[in-house]
């Protein structure tokens, strides 16, 4: 792929030397992160098929980009997720039960925002990006040295908020990373119908910021590129647009059927790029890990998710008060939860 930074896609000798440079600890940490996300995604799909959680946007194939986005940044940096990154918070230490509860519509699914520094999830695409810019700019104003990372897909680059956020970030010099996971498909709309620009990173030029391209199925390259973008932001160099180039290996979500609009042959062509298997090949051939050790990491992750799913079953039901109580921080008398059950005429008859 043209201009796309890769480590696992390089010639074997270059690959091995770059992996050795990253070191075993970091490499295994990245692999473990991906294993955790994969286990979450696998389990969530099962739970959805069983009717135990709601419609769920799978991220199968996006584990490398997501893991790298957490590991390449510092713990004090803020992440601004969309609906497809609800499990990244588990890489910051949040138990997987929490995002599973979220997909069940349970208040226990609200992860501790301030502790993990992962913002509330935004569902309308690209709307999280201005938040990332505002937060990052605010940090700069208060001399904090954290940076913000906002997630987007290729489809989100067509939305107005993407443009407004990129422009605002560049013009204010805010320390932000726009991480665009270009998986070529926005539900059923292919990239060629989304934009005439073939390389989304080129859009960065219009805002006066750097645009980098990286192999979305290569956790090690993603880590390196995102690390560079974070360092630039932290040192006052402003925002960067990172385009992770890949392919949506799964459906858009559990309510989608890709065979309706795209060729299964293309899917088969991309399937071997699956990031865990690919990372494993690299790690084993570089002598940084053996297959048994990696299988053990994945087994532990699966067992953890199975336990979380069992705990999910034991969680109590939600009450209306619990939900209504959080509409405002300072609840005005007329909007208090008591009024939800009371017919409006009751107050007049006292």
């Amino acid at each position: 792929m043209d201009g796309v930074e890769t480590i696992l896609g390089a010639d074997p000798e270059a690959m091995v030397s770059q992996l050795l440079e990253l070191g075993r600890d970091l490499c295994l940490r990245l692999f473990e992160g991906m294993a955790g996300l994969r286990a979450f995604d696998d389990r969530a799909v099962i739970l959805q098929r069983q009717g135990r959680i709601g419609t769920y946007p799978t991220f199968y194939g996006e584990e490398a980009v997501q893991t790298a986005s957490v590991v390449a940044l510092e713990e004090r940096d803020w992440l601004f997720p969309t609906y497809r990154q609800t499990a990244v918070v588990t890489l910051r230490g949040c138990p997987p039960l929490v995002p599973l509860l979220m997909w069940r519509g349970h208040p226990g699914g609200w992860h501790d925002v301030m502790r993990y520094r992962v913002a509330p999830v935004c569902v309308p695409v690209a709307t999280n990006l201005p938040h990332a810019v505002g937060a990052a700019w605010g940090a700069r104003l208060r001399s904090a040295d954290w940076v913000a990372l906002g997630y987007a897909g290729d489809g989100a680059t067509s939305a107005g908020d993407f443009h407004e956020a990129c422009n605002l970030a560049a013009v204010t010099g805010s320390p932000v990373i726009f991480l665009v996971n270009n998986n070529q498909w926005a539900i059923s709309t292919p990239l060629r119908r989304q934009t005439r620009v073939q390389r989304l990173a080129e859009k960065a030029a219009a805002y006066g910021m750097p645009g980098l391209r990286v192999d979305a199925f290569d956790v090690f390259a993603c880590h390196r590129v995102l690390r560079r973008a974070a360092e630039l932001a932290r040192s006052g160099g402003g925002p960067t647009l990172v385009e992770a180039v890949g392919y949506r290996l799964g459906p858009h979500g559990t309510a989608d059927e890709p065979a309706l609009y795209r060729s299964p042959a293309a899917d088969r062509l991309w399937a071997p790029m699956e990031p865990l298997g690919r990372a494993q090949l690299g790690l084993v051939s570089a002598g940084l890990a053996d297959a048994g050790e990696l299988a053990e990491i994945r087994g532990r992750a699966s067992a953890r998710l199975l336990a979380a799913a069992e705990e999910l079953e034991r969680s109590p039901r939600v009450t209306l008060e619990e939900i209504a109580d959080t509409v405002h921080l300072s609840t005005p008398w007329d909007l208090s939860p008591d009024h939800l059950r009371e017919p409006s005429w009751a107050a007049a008859g006292e």
Partner: protein, 326 residues
């Protein structure tokens, strides 16, 4: 006591809160050198610098989204949207982000931001002369205020900036040059609580409920009706549209038994429609006649001056509606 314009009253609240709290920042289009489209922020960039009075590109969704993020990051942003017509471009950020962050994350993260914007007319044509307060007032998670007097503009803006939730603060272009007294001394720092209406004229025959510019029209109508018809109108300034202070209105109706709701927005789906529905429930047994409304006809605003005049609700219309009742 000196008279202060509505414009200066808004500015005084912005300035005092910026002096009081370092976290308060302003952002918006043309709010620095130009001083804002209605000259509300004039002089503030000179005093507080371009970091706290931030000139933004033309990007309403971006401005509000940015403000949501800045609020998450610990600041208290006051975002100016040039007019409420442009707030349409930011509707998603207002409704789906500002109003939802607190709720969708179990109340962990408040978004203490104020969106200041302007309603009104003045030969600006169909896309720049609209009145949308009812839309915002229908959204759980938002608070919506619409002051009519300089004192309330100041007091409510102090309350809005100090409020931990997102507040939509709607000014009125035709009120900026109106003047009134501001509280002085210690009282100057007092907020007008969000969610409190005020009986601004006592009366015995009809209750007129109004807010923003329509309050002045209702007061004028009350004078006229007293003089020519001997009808005594009680006038209630709603001041806050979400949450509405229903008890103050209900109490007034118990005294007068007749109710007229005065607004500038469209008759269909306008804020008055929601008020009417709730108040007909709460006041049904006290009412001697059906609740009446003064509202704009369901057509886009005209650009022609005389047509515009015929579309904007005035005190004459309020007088006419009251006469029909009596």
């Amino acid at each position: 006591m000196s008279l202060v314009s509505y414009r200066d009253a808004v500015r005084s609240a912005l300035r005092d809160e910026m002096l009081r709290d370092q976290r308060v920042i302003l952002m918006g289009e043309d709010i620095t050198g130009y001083g804002g489209s209605y000259a509300v922020t004039k002089g503030l960039v000179e005093e507080f610098g371009p970091k706290r009075v931030m000139e933004t590109p033309i990007a309403e969704a971006g401005i509000v989204g940015f403000a949501v993020g800045a609020a998450m990051g610990g600041l208290i942003p006051v975002a100016e949207l040039m007019t409420v017509n442009f707030a349409l471009l930011a509707l998603d950020q207002i409704v789906n982000s500002a109003a939802k962050c607190h709720y969708m994350f179990g109340g962990q993260w408040s978004v203490p931001l104020v969106v200041r914007t302007v309603s009104g007319f003045g030969q600006l044509g169909p896309t720049h002369s609209q009145t949308f307060e009812g839309w915002f007032a229908s959204v759980p998670g938002l608070k919506v205020v619409m002051p009519a007097t300089p004192a309330d503009a100041r007091g409510l803006l102090l309350a809005a900036i100090r409020d931990p939730d997102p507040v939509i603060f709607i000014e009125h272009s035709l009120l900026y040059s109106t003047k009134g007294e501001l509280p002085e001394g210690e009282a100057a720092d007092e907020e007008v609580p969000i969610g409190s209406a005020k009986v601004v004229r006592a009366g015995t025959d009809v209750t007129l409920v109004a807010y923003s510019r329509m309050l002045l029209q209702a007061l004028q109508a009350a004078e006229e009706l007293e003089r020519s018809d001997g009808v005594s109108c009680e006038v209630v300034d709603l001041r806050t549209l979400r949450p509405v202070d229903y008890p103050t209105v209900v109490e007034s109706v118990r005294r007068t038994h007749q109710l007229v709701l005065c607004g500038e927005d469209w008759r269909t789906g306008g804020f008055g429609a929601s008020l009417l529905s709730e108040l007909s429930d709460r006041c049904f047994d006290d009412l001697d006649a059906p609740i009446q409304r003064v509202a704009s006809p369901d057509v886009p605003m005209a650009y022609s001056r005389q047509l515009e005049r015929s579309l904007i609700p005035t005190s004459d219309e309020v007088v006419e509606v009251v006469r029909r009742l009596n």
